[in-house]
């Protein structure tokens, strides 16, 4: 029997003020505080974090771990190692949890046992109105907007470690985070192993925390550089992920701009850095003039450059990069593709998918072939409620054609034109008006 219901693990690095804000918010939880323990891992702190922590009184059990800098992944693992709760909640030190956060996570584990619960991180820009803050806010909100969609199929990178909860046993079984990922993407890598083990995710809107996002433009370059390095590690550790990583996107790109960026990143990084500095200055001018479109273009170039700089520094040479991309890897045989006949109705199909949890689907409607849903390696095993959103997203025209051929679309609704529709072609501007 565990001593606590919940252990909250908080890795922190030189941010004592926001850490205090977090702990204050935790003391206002609606969930019984005596069932909560909080473990703060001071990871390579050089400010007075631990002294301050030792002085404060908290209405819950507070454990403090001090360690030399082992990256957030190491800090989370060490914190979890000392945990005595049935459920782990991980919070970043710049998060300010709502009062219902712990209660919502515990409820989620009770309703859907075994699932990994992702909480909502509401980006709080603290009134900042510069372009990069708005971009970041949009990026964050879109992560959660996707998860809000009914029947959302989770991908490995949606395992966001800033605010999530997992059963202690599950965390232990998987061996926690991989500490080789020192700066970032330790959560994505963990997410991938979770998905591979057959785990499912669930998004918990009410487990909300305000995320005080402080990144500026330079912080973005550093982040992208770190991502470049971390994705090399990901590609090496999980070769089946390689096709979906950013570093594979540039293979065989003929656009001169991208080739130029690669050349600078791999061979001329000193000139590249100077050029990057110049473009960085240009961003400020464009922002002052409120010219959003050119600003976004330049930002994209810088993001790609710094990402590739990370890749280049990790691999050492362009040759190593190409080798990594073209290396053969042993693909585990995954036979889990099942055939679904939509003409039999959704209820049976969804039930079957729920029972078998396949990775891919072969879809037909009676005698009409609808198509094959590939086995995306980066995605959750399928559940029944994924089916209809997938059909709506990838197989619109095929389904309409099948329905039309079966006489389920009336003549006057354009049946003939639907049947004639060639080759599964979709109008690119679907959903946007043709004006």
């Amino acid at each position: 029997m565990k001593r606590y219901t919940v252990s909250i693990v908080i890795p922190t690095h030189n941010r004592s003020a926001s850490l205090i804000r977090l702990l204050t918010a935790l003391s206002k939880q609606t969930y019984p505080l005596e069932e909560i323990e909080v473990i703060v891992v001071a990871n390579g702190c050089t400010d007075r974090t631990t002294e301050i922590l030792k002085q404060i009184q908290t209405p819950f059990t507070l454990k403090i771990i001090e360690q030399s800098d082992q990256g957030p992944a190491g800090a989370r693992n060490n914190g979890a190692g000392r945990a005595e709760g049935r459920f782990l909640i991980f919070l970043d030190d710049d998060v300010e949890p709502s009062s219902s956060l712990v209660e919502s996570f515990v409820a989620a584990h009770t309703c859907s046992p075994g699932k990994i619960a992702i909480g909502y991180l509401h980006p709080n820009m603290d009134g900042k109105r510069d372009f990069i803050s708005k971009e970041l806010r949009r990026w964050w909100e879109d992560q959660f907007n996707a998860m809000r969609e009914p029947g959302h199929r989770f991908s490995y990178h949606e395992m966001l470690s800033g605010n999530f909860s997992i059963e202690y046993e599950k965390f232990r079984q998987l061996g926690g985070f991989d500490t080789k990922f020192r700066a970032c993407l330790d959560d994505s890598e963990f997410g991938f192993r979770l998905l591979k083990s057959g785990a499912s995710f669930v998004f918990i809107e009410n487990a909300k925390g305000d995320h005080h996002e402080n990144r500026n433009l330079r912080g973005m370059y550093v982040r992208k550089y770190n991502e470049g390095q971390a994705e090399v590690l990901l590609a090496q550790k999980h070769p089946e992920l390689r096709p979906v990583l950013t570093l594979s996107r540039f293979q065989g790109y003929s656009i001169i701009l991208y080739r130029l960026i690669l050349t600078f990143a791999f061979y001329l990084s000193r000139i590249g850095d100077i050029a990057s500095e110049t473009l960085h200055k240009l961003l400020f001018i464009l922002e002052w003039l409120r010219l959003r479109r050119p600003w976004r273009t330049i930002l994209n170039i810088l993001m790609i450059y710094w990402y590739m700089r990370g890749v280049a520094d990790k691999l050492g040479s362009k040759k190593a990069y190409l080798n990594l991309l073209n290396e053969d890897f042993f693909q585990e045989e995954d036979e889990s593709v099942i055939e679904i006949d939509l003409a039999q109705g959704f209820a049976g199909a969804e039930q079957r998918i729920d029972e078998e949890r396949p990775k891919g689907l072969k879809l037909r409607y009676g005698k009409h072939e609808i198509g094959t849903l590939n086995q995306f390696p980066e995605m959750e095993y399928l559940r029944g409620d994924h089916l209809r959103p997938i059909l709506a997203k990838y197989f619109q025209i095929q389904i309409l054609k099948a329905l039309a051929s079966e006489g389920l679309v009336e003549e006057k609704f354009g049946k003939a034109r639907l049947i004639e529709f060639g080759g599964g072609f979709l109008p690119a501007d679907l959903g946007e008006d043709k004006e």
């Binding site: 009914p150 409120r290 959003r292």
Partner: protein, 393 residues
């Protein structure tokens, strides 16, 4: 020339339509299970539309806007968390009790989801509006003495009991599903505003037909999400209009109130709604256009009023751009102004001058362009007036 407004439900199509007496055209809104999918204007002969004409039109209706509906009907996909809880409906009005009455009567027929109906009486010259609203138990009355539609809008946001405020013009009438559809798209926290589709209430006069042709409120049959990455914030006319829009009340804190120097009741004549759309987009938030949120607008009936309206749009657009440029340092306004002039106004103007012109008459496009020229000065004057007014308080 008069046009009858008709609706056809595609699951229940009549063989032919008769009894259209004096009309020579019919504007048909097609719906599939209540949802709008298309529209068409067809000729009326001897007071009827025969089955051949009707079949011809129906042939063109089978298209993506309908197929999308068929697909979601088959898949029975639910919306993400639909906005729950009641909202406020605000009507900003001034001295138009007859129109207002029609609007209120229709609003009272909507499904009762607990919504509040709020009438903002702006700088009234009589107590006719007050006396009208007094008759309805479920309608609240607020009098805003600061003249200007945007002042009334700000007051509505302030007085509203609920977090989402839907605006409808006094000369418009909501469709039964209007409010629910307009409230549907607020699950994304970045969405501060939604707009709906506005269909003409009547096309009885030539002026109304020209308005519908040149300056329609209809923005198409597909839902669209706008942010500054997919639309120029300064061409926000594509997004919607004040006749049919809803806001989160927090918009005031997040991007600021409606600019009191803009829109009806001030020298700038219009533009207050679009300037708000612009600011929402430039501040990194989103607007969703939802075609299912239908209301019907009664366009101005006389030629003189039409000319005034278009003139007012010209003034309003340029006044709003002046604000964006001078107050918000939005340099891309200049580009937007050039785009509008070059791709729309200039060709229209030239065409209207050619002999045998059957498009927009010269006098209309001229009213609009002359309005544009006045716009910047109108904004400066209006801003001064607003400042003086605030100081004298």
């Amino acid at each position: 020339m008069t046009t009858k407004i008709l609706e056809i439900e595609l699951t229940d199509i009549p063989d032919d339509i008769s009894g259209l007496g004096r009309y020579d055209h019919a504007f048909i809104l097609f719906r599939f299970k209540g949802k709008p999918v298309n529209r068409s204007v067809v000729p009326v002969k001897n007071g009827q539309i025969d089955s051949d004409t009707l079949n011809d039109v129906l042939h063109k209706v089978g298209d993506w806007s309908l197929w999308n509906r068929l697909l979601s009907d088959y898949l029975k996909l639910e919306n993400p968390s639909v906005f729950k809880g009641p909202a406020t409906v605000a009507i900003c009005t001034r001295d138009r009790p007859k129109d207002l009455q029609r609007c209120i009567e229709a609003l009272l027929k909507l499904n009762d989801d607990g919504q509040e109906i709020l009438v903002i009486d702006n700088y009234p010259s009589s107590d006719a509006t007050f006396n009208l609203v007094k008759k309805y138990d479920h309608v609240s009355y607020v009098r805003e003495d600061k003249r200007g539609l945007n002042n009334a809008r700000n007051r509505a946001l302030k007085e509203a009991a609920y977090d989402i405020v839907a605006f409808i013009d006094d000369d418009a009438v909501p469709d039964p599903g209007w409010l629910r559809a307009l409230l549907r798209n607020f699950h994304d926290p970045l969405v501060l505003c939604t707009t709906g589709m506005t269909i003409p209430y009547e096309l009885e006069t030539e002026a109304q037909e020209w308005f519908e042709l040149y300056s329609t409120f209809n923005r198409g049959f597909f839902r669209k999400t706008f942010d500054s990455s997919n639309v120029s914030p300064h061409l926000s006319g594509h997004i919607g209009a004040g006749v049919n829009m809803a806001f989160r009340r927090s918009v005031v804190d997040l991007v600021g109130p409606f600019d009191e120097a803009l829109d009806a009741g001030t020298p700038t004549l219009s533009g207050g709604d679009n300037e708000m759309f612009t600011r929402i987009l430039t501040q990194g938030y989103r607007i969703v256009y939802e075609p299912d949120a239908i209301n019907f607008h009664c366009h101005r009936r006389t030629w003189g009023e039409l000319k005034q309206t278009l003139h007012g749009y010209g003034v309003g657009v340029y006044a709003a751009w002046t604000r964006s440029l001078l107050c918000d340092r939005e340099f891309s306004v200049l580009w937007a102004a050039w785009l509008w002039f070059n791709s729309n106004q200039l060709p229209t103007l030239i065409r209207s001058l050619l002999p045998g012109n059957r498009g927009i008459p010269f006098s209309l496009i001229f009213s609009e362009i002359s309005g544009c020229i006045k716009g910047p000065w109108a904004y400066l004057i209006s801003r001064n007036q607003a400042r003086d007014r605030n100081w004298s308080r």
